[in-house]
């Protein structure tokens, strides 16, 4: 359902992603871990075309594009199939929670107003913020804003939701409510790719953990295997460091 073939991204001379091959099943929950600066964000951003990949092909659902031949329409179409949740929420500051969620349905999918807002209200219910429909981002806590950020991604009805460190900007008190919502989505078998340092989330929720280093997939497998029986020395070193601060 998602297939990356030889996907590469260079920034000038720097090779950030080096011919990544990856296939993800519908309903699969994939957690991506790895040291800072190894291209985790870049990978997600390439799938959403927030970065133009340098080479390779990508398939999401029934759309396959050669990244170098992707037309304007292909890029828009790929973005509509992939939803993004940002580390700093990135809500539209001039719109209420309800409008943030409905925006995509109204503007991109051209739904009639009534239908779009009705759907947005259903999503607000699911994310537990029905009472915040008319609140603006500036008046919401970090946890509430990130839940709206996830709600906005849910509204897209996308084939996959890409999470880039969704809890890293949050005060510790709000982390659980956001992880809780992500677990709820996972239990509904929403396909997700999650970059996170929350190792307990990876252990409890992921079907597969992927360790990336230096623009390569170094090792991947079920969380039990990766956490308790890592093969590659780089994976071992990384896990030793991170588990010391965030034990599983």
């Amino acid at each position: 359902m998602i297939k990356l073939s030889s996907l590469s991204k260079h920034f000038g001379e720097t090779v950030v992603l080096d011919e990544i091959d990856l296939a993800i099943e519908e309903g699969e929950i994939v957690v991506i871990i790895g040291p800072s600066g190894t291209g985790k964000s870049t990978l997600l951003r390439c799938i959403n075309f927030l970065e133009q990949p340098t080479a390779g092909t990508m398939t999401v659902g029934d759309l396959t594009v050669d990244v170098n031949r992707a037309s304007r329409a292909d890029i828009l179409s790929m973005r509509r199939r992939t939803a993004f949740v940002f580390q700093n929420y990135a809500l539209f500051a001039n719109k209420t929670a309800l409008q943030n969620i409905a925006e995509r349905l109204l503007v991109v999918d051209k739904w009639p107003k009534e239908k779009a807002y009705q759907r947005a209200r259903e999503i607000l219910d699911q994310i537990g913020l029905a009472d915040k429909a008319d609140a603006y981002p500036a008046s919401m806590s970090g946890g509430q804003q990130q839940r709206v950020g996830i709600g906005r991604a849910m509204a897209a009805g996308a084939d996959v939701i890409l999470f880039d460190e969704p809890t890293s900007s949050l005060d510790p008190e709000w982390v659980e409510e956001v992880l809780g919502l992500m677990k709820q989505l996972a239990s509904e078998r929403q396909t997700m790719m999650v970059v996170t340092h929350e190792m307990s989330f990876a252990r409890d929720v992921a079907d597969r953990v992927i360790f990336i280093d230096g623009g390569h997939i170094v090792e991947q497998g079920p969380p039990g295997d990766i956490f308790h029986n890592p093969k590659d020395p780089r994976t071992k070193a990384f896990l030793k460091k991170i588990l010391a601060t965030s034990p599983v």
């Binding site: 927030l50 509509r80 993004f84 990135a90 539209f92 001039n94 719109k95 897209a156």
Partner: protein
């Protein structure tokens, strides 16, 4: 000191009021044209469109760097000399041209700063859900930039209303020109100009009220 001739002043009010609409028209038309031009300049600057960007920088620099009165004289006396088809250019047209170019140069910079100031991550969020560049500008960037730029733009509008008084040097009988004529006839300069000053003042005060109202409305989303 002689006592003010209050009777003369009161009698002057209806006379001068007849010229107020022209003053407001000069400023109103100048403001609309300046806004359009300023938005075009700002977009050229933000997108760094080659050639146009450099031309815009020079244009803005010139019209900010020289006095408005000099610019008005350039248009009024200079243009007919350059283009013989324009044997005369009337004072009203020259004034509107001068006000438009002068103020668009200032306004372009505040609009540009306001657009650039919109949080880059919101732009990415809009793109990530599949918006086109046009949708992103209309729905996310411009509404927020408007709010940031509004106080400055209103201040320029107020400046422009006052700057219309320079039109009398081009022979336009607007509020200032009319006052000048009345005063020259009666020799009651102080009385005449006080009445004119109060009229400008009232117009500006009304605009400030409008500005406060608009700012409160636009800021609604950003208060905790």
């Amino acid at each position: 000191m002689d006592v003010l001739n209050v009777e003369y002043m009161l009698g002057l009010v209806p006379v001068l009021l007849r010229y107020l609409p022209l003053t407001l028209q000069l400023a109103g038309i100048g403001m609309v044209l300046a806004l359009i031009l300023a938005c075009l300049f700002a977009v050229v600057r933000v997108l760094r469109i080659p050639v146009l960007n450099q031309l815009t920088i020079v244009f803005i620099s010139f019209f900010r760097g020289t006095p408005l009165l000099v610019q008005l004289f350039l248009f009024y006396y200079g243009l007919p000399q350059l283009f013989s088809a324009l044997t005369v250019i009337d004072g009203i047209t020259a004034t509107i041209m001068g006000l438009t170019m002068h103020f668009s140069a200032y306004m372009a910079e505040s609009i540009r700063a306001a657009i650039v100031g919109v949080d880059r991550s919101q732009t990415e969020a809009a793109l990530s859900i599949g918006m086109t560049n046009g949708q992103l500008m209309r729905r996310v960037v411009l509404p927020q930039a408007t709010r940031v730029a509004l106080p400055t733009l209103m201040n320029y509008f107020i400046d422009m209303i006052k700057a219309t008084s320079l039109a009398f040097t081009l022979g336009v009988t607007e509020l200032m020109g009319a006052t000048q004529k009345e005063a020259a006839g009666s020799f009651l300069y102080f009385e005449a100009f006080i009445v004119a000053a109060i009229m400008y003042w009232i117009v500006v005060e009304l605009l400030s009220k409008l500005q406060n109202y608009l700012e409160t409305r636009l800021n609604k989303a950003y208060n905790r």
